[in-house]
Symmetry: C2
Subunit: 166 residues, 2 copies
DNA sequence: GCGGCGTGGTTCGTCAACCGAACCCAGCGT
DNA sequence: ACGCTGGGTTCGGTTGACGAACCACGCCGC
């Protein structure tokens, strides 16, 4: 993201873009909200339906989709004195979307009716301090904002402007 | 996100959830892709349309929406020898979605046809090292994953189990 | 072994969103 | 005057979301 170069959009193949790819998986309505509930520990169809208020048909479809994509697994289980049920649990693949959810949440906390306290506070379990998401480079520097990031399309290795070798 | 507590979803008001709120703003189809292009430096309607391949009517609608929501501004300008045009530029509010885009991108890089190099590489402009997004707590600890995060609905102030002061 | 109930769906009709293609207008260059 | 380009709007058709109703399974009480 965040072109410092004049326009990396020229020869960058959008069809392969990871943002588009990810949105193709979780970009439909309700998908990310289903995952939010999953992170909150909600696992059963009825609970999801109650929590989200989504139409049952849509919820069925999204769950099937997320299972098919490997973000959730359907796990059968049986509570004592009840018949077998199944619940939806996050996989590693699904769990790895956590930062994306947190990023969306932080934006909402900051910019939407943001005078009061955010509806949901995240704290580090080990120390109780609030957690937040940030960019850092491999050398350990905190990256302040988009302006400090250079986006380079791969395939052409940085397009070195002083050695226009071709 | 990420309940360590048994079920914070019980009394958590979904209608106020920041994830839902954010998705209400940028959750429609194409919105986040428009923002991705904005971060890449694409500013003009025709360029956006070419890059995205979105229907023009939808693109018009998304741009108007993003302007109305204050994520983009329409800036008139005039190139030499051309008539006046206007371009769409990120505001602070829009720029602040950068982490969300990066999070989605990183997920795609990792999980979608992830054998080769990611289509777009992000590096720190000052030092050239690759950048990545991560959770950290205010005490400076790196947070490994969702499991290390506790989500607490506000309104009830953490439900402190050792000092049940009420 | 029959009816009721809760979970987990599916089906159906309606209504909104998205789509591609065509059309339109303003202003520049010729 | 004419065509070209940028930036839209309009239009019919298709897909998707919605809410309400319906269905199947299996536990429970009777």
């Amino acid at each position: 993201m965040t072109a410092t170069t004049p326009d990396p959009g020229q020869d960058f193949d959008r069809a392969r873009c990871s943002v588009a790819g990810t949105l193709a998986v979780v970009g439909e309505k309700w998908s990310l909200l289903v995952l939010r509930e999953a992170f909150l520990g909600v696992r059963r169809f009825a609970d999801l339906q109650r929590a989200l208020g989504a139409p049952r048909a849509v919820l069925t479809d999204r769950l099937n989709r997320l299972v098919a994509e490997g973000l959730l697994v359907r796990v059968p289980y049986r509570a004592p004195g009840e018949r077998e049920r199944h619940e939806y649990r996050l996989t590693d693949r699904g769990r790895d979307l956590h930062p994306a959810l947190v990023a969306l949440m932080q934006w909402g906390d900051r910019w939407l009716a943001g005078d009061g306290a955010p509806p949901l506070a995240l704290t580090h379990r080990d120390c109780g301090a609030p957690v937040s998401l940030g960019l850092r480079c491999a050398a350990g520097h905190d990256v302040g904002g988009p302006r400090e990031v250079t986006a380079t399309p791969t395939g052409r290795p940085a397009e070195t402007p002083d050695t226009p070798a071709g």
